[in-house]
């Protein structure tokens, strides 16, 4: 062979394998497409969060307050005392590496600092230096390092590349939950005004108007009125939701995404149809235009902010004097309810332990939070034979189910959604075992990372999920991905569009709405999306 011809690798001289320095010595490179825009001053001011300012992650100077280091270390000290879990997680990791390749961001980005163990180590190294004797004396030898402005940038970059999904915790022999470390990491960053816009703005809107988008009560009602019209066009039955009705038995709270963003809106129509069906059976529910948001972006900000936003739902339940709360298909709302609500704002003694007015089932699992997940509620209805269903109206769909991280790992809701789906659809296929239930892969956009500017991060992180969908799409012809989370319904359609074209996304109650036979309904020719039902064309 001709030696004079240089090889491609010699000619192009591309060396994109980074230098193999230790992680502590590899400086952070902040890349476009990965980071989300910083929070703006007016939002932070509105939330009474400190140090709102204009700054850019790409600038060398982040305009930190002069005493930022004192603030941060004091913040750490406080949280070490306050959260036993935090101290424990700082101390007990043996760096066994079992979690290392379990994070979807590591799998998709290949960035070692996206290994859960290293993500935690970003904070732990500072903890060692400042709060342990060994770290103070021996420094780097024991994995301790000084806090600097560069380290702070690294925290910001990587704690906003963790979707707090907890997948890593499932594999850790000690149960270390890196999501909890990220939560504390973000809380510390917030002490210095370092939130991201996509989190701070919805939190501020929610605090002000009651939902992420800042929709005022009349607009909220207008939107639902559209659905009432659409539902009537499709079913021939006019449903009549009520708003802010005092003395109703049940308050319904769902993420505002169900009311304002496709395909969540079809899920909202599903709720309306179900509620109407149950009315004559003694179901007495009201929507609130003030507690018009189940989502809680405070959860991604700080414990205090989470508490503040969560309290609004319970305050509204108290004001309306309802007995209990029914919650829609939301992700992190449920993690907040299940894991934090009771210690933060509970027990909700002004409410009663939820009892289904139709089946008489007492939801003792919700005895303190007084809030029932709608798939639990519907599964109970189906189990007791209370719903008249025509599964064939979903026959154009070949369905699989994505366990959203929060309901699955955050509250153990695994079987109810599947039970409901399988009772309203004829064709259902599970994705591979290592990608569902407790081991489910995150959508890649959770915990406030569903911004637009970080699309590459989202698509890398969502790749393992999409890959499993692709498998069932190719093997079984799956064409619909069902889920019980509004963030999923917003972010999975573009993710599918990129990785698995031909697969749509739906909420579980959209499927219920399609199958449920309303008394007095006309012969349906389309599904809730207005698409022809299977078999309709041939009949015409």
């Amino acid at each position: 062979m001709a030696d004079e011809v240089p090889k491609t690798s010699e000619m192009v001289k591309i060396d994109h394998a980074p230098p193999s320095t230790g992680w502590m010595d590899t400086p952070v490179v902040i890349r476009k497409g990965i980071y989300s825009y910083p929070a703006k001053k007016p939002t932070l001011d509105y939330l009474s969060m400190p140090f709102g300012r204009e700054w850019s992650p790409l600038d060398a100077d982040w305009k930190l307050p002069p005493n930022w280091l004192d603030i941060l270390l004091e913040g750490m000290r406080e949280r070490i005392d306050r959260f036993r879990s935090f101290r424990l997680f700082m101390d007990i990791c043996v760096r066994c590496g079992a979690c290392a390749d379990k994070c979807h961001y590591f799998i998709g980005t290949g960035d070692p600092k996206n290994m859960p163990v290293l993500r935690a180590e970003l904070l732990r190294s500072v903890y060692r230096k400042e709060f342990t004797l060994a770290g103070k004396l021996m420094g780097k030898m024991v994995g301790a390092r000084q806090m600097t402005a560069e380290v702070l940038k690294e925290w910001w970059y990587y704690f906003f590349q963790c979707s707090e999904c907890r997948r890593c915790s499932v594999f850790c022999p000690y149960g270390i939950d890196t999501a909890e470390i990220t939560i504390i990491g973000r809380e510390l960053l917030n002490l210095l005004g370092l939130n991201i816009d996509w989190i701070a703005q919805p939190a501020a809107n929610c605090f002000r108007t009651g939902n992420h988008l800042g929709i005022q009560p009349h607009a909220f009602k207008d939107m639902l009125d559209f659905f009432v019209d659409d539902t009537e066009n499709i079913t021939g039955v006019r449903v009549n939701p009520t708003y802010n009705r005092k003395g109703a038995e049940i308050l319904f709270v769902t993420p505002s995404g169900d009311v304002f963003a496709d395909p969540g809106t079809y899920t909202a129509m599903g709720y309306l149809i179900l509620f109407h069906y149950l009315e004559s059976l003694g179901f007495d529910v009201t929507w609130s235009t003030y507690a018009s948001e189940g989502g809680n972006f405070g959860f991604f900000t700080s414990h205090e902010m989470m508490k503040r936003l969560n309290a609004k739902m319970y305050a509204e339940a108290k004001r309306l004097k309802v007995k209990w709360i029914l919650g829609g298909e939301c992700g992190h709302m449920w993690r907040v309810i299940h894991q934090y609500m009771d210690t933060m704002n509970g027990p909700a003694d002004h409410l009663e332990t939820p009892v289904s007015p139709i089946t008489g089932t007492r939801f003792t699992n919700a005895a303190t939070t007084k809030m029932v997940h709608i798939t639990e509620f519907t599964a109970d209805l189906i189990r007791n034979g209370k719903l008249k269903l025509d599964k064939s109206r979903n026959d154009n769909l070949n369905v699989t189910f994505h366990d959203s991280c929060n309901p699955a790992r955050g509250m153990g809701l695994l079987d109810e959604p599947r039970y409901v789906i399988q009772n309203v659809c004829n064709t259902f296929h599970e994705m591979p075992e290592s990608t569902i239930r407790e081991q489910t892969f995150c959508c890649g956009s959770g915990s406030g990372l569903n911004a637009g500017e970080n699309l590459e991060l989202r698509f890398r992180g969502g790749m393992p999920r999409a890959n499993a969908v692709k498998h069932v799409h190719e093997k079984h012809g799956v064409n619909m991905l069902a889920c019980v989370c509004a963030i999923d319904r917003a972010v999975l359609p573009p993710l599918m569009d990129y990785w698995v074209p031909g697969v749509g996304v739906t909420g579980v109650h959209e499927l219920v709405g399609n199958a449920l036979i309303l008394p007095g309904e006309k012969k349906r020719t389309t599904d809730l999306r207005g698409e022809d039902l299977p078999g309709v064309e041939e009949e015409d």
Binding site: M1, Y37, D101, G108, G110, Q201, N467, W499
Partner: protein, 188 residues
């Protein structure tokens, strides 16, 4: 012996050299994981790259099974190219870096041929394969560009879909006082 037959006999070697070169384009911690964890769901990136490289080489050597691609061999190889480039299009690669892995195949072929030459064996003219690789690389550029375009389209659609904007236009939203529309300041 023609080049195709020659490399068919040495396919394993070519593939392993090529694979090593491709995985070397990832950070070291990553390479280890990509190469060693053989799990289509736990290591989807590594799996798809592995499958893709093998598929492309099969095509190059005229061994692509027609049943794999419904009789359309060309479409079959495009699918493999797409699988790899779709991943590289969202990773930290420039356009040239993303596509470079196809040129690395030329090096792998030459390394294997050179080794035979050193042993004193006859080596056929490999230019016919070079031209085929070039054609694949050109197609690779097209696919890479299509993936990036796809990303931008999705981004644009997301922005448009923000019903928030629609409602703003309809004057239905009350904003936090003094706040500009989300992200507008940073848009280029």
């Amino acid at each position: 012996m023609d080049a195709i037959g020659f490399f068919r006999d040495r396919k394993k070697e070519v593939l392993s050299k090529w694979r090593d070169a491709v995985f070397a384009s990832y950070p070291p911690e990553r390479t280890q994981f990509l190469k060693t964890k053989n799990d289509p769901f736990g290591n989807p990136v590594g799996h798809q790259i592995n499958e893709g490289l093998a598929g492309i080489l099969d095509y190059l050597l005229g061994e692509a099974g027609e049943e794999d691609c419904a009789g359309d061999v060309k479409a079959g190889v495009s699918r493999f190219l797409d699988a790899i480039l779709r991943i590289r299009a969202v990773q930290d690669f420039t356009a040239s870096q993303a596509v470079e892995f196809l040129f690395a195949l030329k090096d792998a072929l030459r390394d294997v041929a050179d080794a035979e030459l050193e042993k004193g064996h006859d080596v056929p003219d490999t230019r016919v394969l070079d031209r085929k690789v070039d054609a694949l690389a050109l197609e690779g550029f097209d696919i890479y560009c299509a993936c990036r375009e796809h990303l931008y389209e999705i981004r644009v659609r997301e922005v448009k879909n923000l019903s928030y904007l629609a409602m703003k236009r309809a004057n239905l939203v009350r904003e936090i006082p003094g706040l500009e529309p989300s992200g507008a300041a940073e848009e280029e």
